[in-house]
Every structure is written in C-alpha cells, then in structure tokens.
C-alpha cells in the first residue's frame, strides 16, 4: 500500500515528493482541465510529450500550488526552445542544468528576499524543482538514463531566482532585454556553478566593477571558451552602489566586456581547447588571436545579463557561469 502523501521514490530526484493523486492533479490543472492532453512541448533527449497533465503531475510532486503552474509551464517552454539545446544540456558530462529567472510578477508570493538562491526559496523548492522533474520524468534527464554528468553540481537540484524589483534601482531584466516581453515571464539559462563575490568595505562603483571583472577570468570555465551569456546576480546593495554612481546595467556590461579579459596565451591549450575547438571553434578563434591579445569573458557586452536578487543587507554579486543563450517565455494566463 502506497503512502497517500508520499510519491514513489522512482519519480523524484531523491527528495520526498507529494503523491500525485487524481484529485491533486485536477486541482493543479484548475481551469486547464480541458487542455490535459494538449502537448506543451517535446522534451529532449527522449522526446517525451509534456502534456499539461504530465506537467501538473510533476508540479504536484514538487509541492507546487496551482498558482505556480503557469511559471512551471513557461519554464518547460523556455528550456525546450530549439536554441536552448536541451538535448546537449541534459546529456553532457558537464554539470550544466537550467537556471530559471522569474520576473517578480511571475511568482508574486515568492518575491526575492533573504536566501534567494537557496533551497528555502519557494522558487527553487517548487517551480525549478517541478521543471527539473519534467526534464527527468518526461525527458529522461536522470543519471540512470540520459544525464551522464561526470560530477554534476549541487545547483542541479533546483535553481531559480525571482527578481527583486522592489529593491532594484533599474527596470527588470525582462524589460531591459526586450520591452515587448509581457511581464510575467520566465527566462532559462544553461547554468554551471556559481561564484559568490563579496565586496562590502567601500562605496566605489568602479572598484566594485573591477572586483567583479577580475573574479571572472578563470581559464577553465565554459564561458572562457564559448564567451556566450554570463549571469551576474547582484544583491540590491551592489546594484544601488552602481546606480548611485550613475551606472546603468548597460554601463556595467560594457565595463565587464572591456575589463574582464585575459591574454590568449593564458587560454590556449587549456580548458576546452584541444577538446572541441577542432569541431566547433567559436568565431573569435578565426583567425587565431596572438598570444598577447586580450580575450574578454564575453564576445559582446550584451552577453552580460544582470538581475537584482536577494535581501537588502549584504554586498554580494553571484556569478552564474554557464553555456549558451538565455531563452524567455511569457506566462500564459491559466
């Protein structure tokens, strides 16, 4: 006899889950009941069909409330956009896994505050977990099947952040990215490990920017090779230090592009060099740079993505390294 509260272990990543009973799934679907069998997305690598009903069942297991379902569905849609390359993200031996960035209106009751990047955040514990369970249960993304990560990383369990618009000096990331995006929305990024940068003993914006830039130039990251999107999660304190000095997010991104660099001689032959450069050499490697040429961590300032997250006190910026681009989906009214 199954415990009516706990779902079978084979359906989760190891943590307990809520049993997806028929009544709980129906409650989760709410007004979307008629769409139960509608396919939201084909989930790589196994190309399982994520119907509303399957997504709802996984959302129940993750502990979501019915109000969370639109964000979960948007998350599934974001990671299944072709340019996200979900197949590669899931099957790689690397520790990549989607990170989700939610506009503050996407999860009003999960407004970013203290401990925003940790498991105590509802965004992590519910929404990111629900999408991850869809990737696992529908897409085959678990270590008994397609997920071949050599080591993985703790953040694979669940990583989502909700922008803290109430404490941000700037428009939301979504607004800055494209004013046509209708808030609420969810963004997804193929993330690697995070690095927390502390800088609290001054109020000099340029010094802070240089601390961040200097912390980014690590030869072994995927960013050092691909030079694609890089996420900087700024605490409100850091964001205001910049804003008070007249810096916009565009200014910060330009500074990072101009200053987070290292000579090509420090990169050549290390990291991903020798592994995939013969097959998928980024454009910047042709022609091959000279040994003293400075190589920025991103190939264009627009690759630097900034969101303001977390609580009022504490001067921290969390860097999220990763691979590829950031995909956005607006929330559908459910």
């Amino acid at each position: 006899m199954a415990d009516p509260l706990v779902c079978p272990a084979a359906w989760t990543e190891g943590l307990p889950g809520i049993a997806p009973t028929e009544s709980r799934v129906l409650t989760m679907l709410g007004r979307n009941l008629e769409r139960s069998d509608e396919v939201v997305a084909e989930v790589a690598p196994r190309l399982g069909h994520a119907t509303w009903r399957l997504i709802a069942a996984n959302a129940v297991i993750a502990g979501c409330a019915p109000d969370d379902l639109p964000a979960v569905v948007a998350g599934v849609r974001a990671v299944t956009q072709p340019r996200f390359l979900l197949d590669q993200v899931v099957t790689t031996v690397h520790g990549l896994w989607p990170m989700f960035i939610l506009s503050s209106n996407a999860a009003p009751d999960l407004a970013s505050g203290r401990d925003a990047l940790s498991g105590s955040s509802g965004a992590n514990a519910r929404i990111a977990r629900a999408v991850s369970l869809v990737l696992r249960n529908v897409g085959g993304g678990h270590s008994d099947a397609y997920d071949a990560a050599t080591m993985g990383r703790p953040g694979k369990l669940m990583t989502a952040v909700v922008e803290n618009s109430s404490l941000s000096p700037w428009p939301s990331w979504f607004e800055r990215r494209d004013p046509a995006i209708v808030d609420p929305a969810v963004a997804a990024y193929a993330a690697d490990s995070t690095l927390c940068i502390a800088d609290m003993g001054h109020s000099d914006a340029e010094l802070l920017a240089s601390t961040i830039a200097d912390s980014l130039t690590i030869p072994g990251t995927y960013n050092a090779f691909f030079r694609k999107d890089l996420w900087l999660i700024l605490s409100p304190s850091h964001a205001w230090m910049f804003a008070d000095a007249g810096w916009s997010p565009t200014d910060i991104a330009s500074y990072i592009f101009d200053n987070a660099h290292q000579p090509y001689s420090r990169l050549r032959g290390r990291g991903l060099f020798g592994f995939i450069d013969a097959h998928q050499a980024p454009r910047w490697l042709s022609p091959e740079p000279g040994p003293n040429e400075q190589i920025s961590i991103v190939d264009h300032p627009r690759r630097v993505q900034l969101a303001v997250v977390g609580a009022e006190t504490g001067g921290y910026t969390t860097v999220v390294f990763g691979s590829g681009v950031t995909c956005v989906e607006e929330l559908e009214e459910c």
Partner: protein
Amino acid sequence: MTVDDLVSPLAAESTRRSAAPRWAGESGMITLSDSMLNSSAGWGRGILASIAATIAEFSPRAVTETISRPQIGDHRPHEFIEHLSQAQVSGLVVTAGDCATCTSRALRECVLAEEVGIPATGVIPAALREIGNATLLTWGRPDLHVAWLDTPLFQLRSESLVSTVRPASEEAWRILTKA
C-alpha cells in the same frame, strides 16, 4: 492506495522502430563514423581503423569510408541519414565515448539508419552503457546491439589500440551481418 491510483508523471512508452535487414557481409560500402570530440587523442580514429581492418579481413570485397562527425551544437541526424541512404551504403558503424552527448546522438543515428534499412551499430566504451541503453530504449530500439568496449578510453595506448579493440570490432562486424 497503490501506485496505480496515482497519476504517473512519466512520459508514455516510446513507439517501436523497425530494424534493418542484416548486411550480407560481402560487398558494399560501410560508413565508419567518428563522433568523438577529442580528435587529438586519436581514440575515434584508432577504433575505426581497427574496425576497418576487421571488415577488410572478414569481408574483403567491401569498402569502408571513415568520416569525422563530432556531435556538438545543433544535431541534424536526418540529413546525415538521408545522405547515407542516397549513397546506398550497406552499413554504419559509429564510435563515440569521450562525451555523453556524442554517444547518445551517435546511437540515435544508428536507430534512424536502421529505420531506413541500413544496418548499424556502435563501438562504445562500456562506461556509457547506461546512456546508450536509455537512448536505444526511448528511441524505440532496445534490441539494437552495441559492441561495448570494456577498456576505458584513457587506457587505450596507440601501440596496443588495434589489438585491444579487436574483440569489439569483430562484434561490430557480427552485429552488422547477423540478424
């Protein structure tokens, strides 16, 4: 309450895909595809050289072509299979194993090749058996045989590679030729 009373969160079972008739083992072109990423290590080239030597010995009238097909970025298997089909190749042997993405994608190409009538198999390190079997199961061909290589890639040495890989090469030839 039992598990059967719960709503399963799992994707539906995959549809079975068809198998190709076996190769007669006589004449014809066998495509050998190297899907490894690390070309400088020479693992893929070495494994395929061993397979080519085995085919030359067991099927002297056959010819082999070796191609490099690293699997990264956007994957377009159907274009590759269409090319093989138009070229009327008699068989496909892939090798992969320094990257799990490549392994899964290379085996998917085997599944698709079989579906259009081209017998196919892979020579893959046994360390990737789980992702390989998951790929074949969920792509509708759990019965597609793979020649698993027990030696880890990093233990292959150029001077002994051909002899180390030989049993797997013979197994690949048998898979192509036997139903």
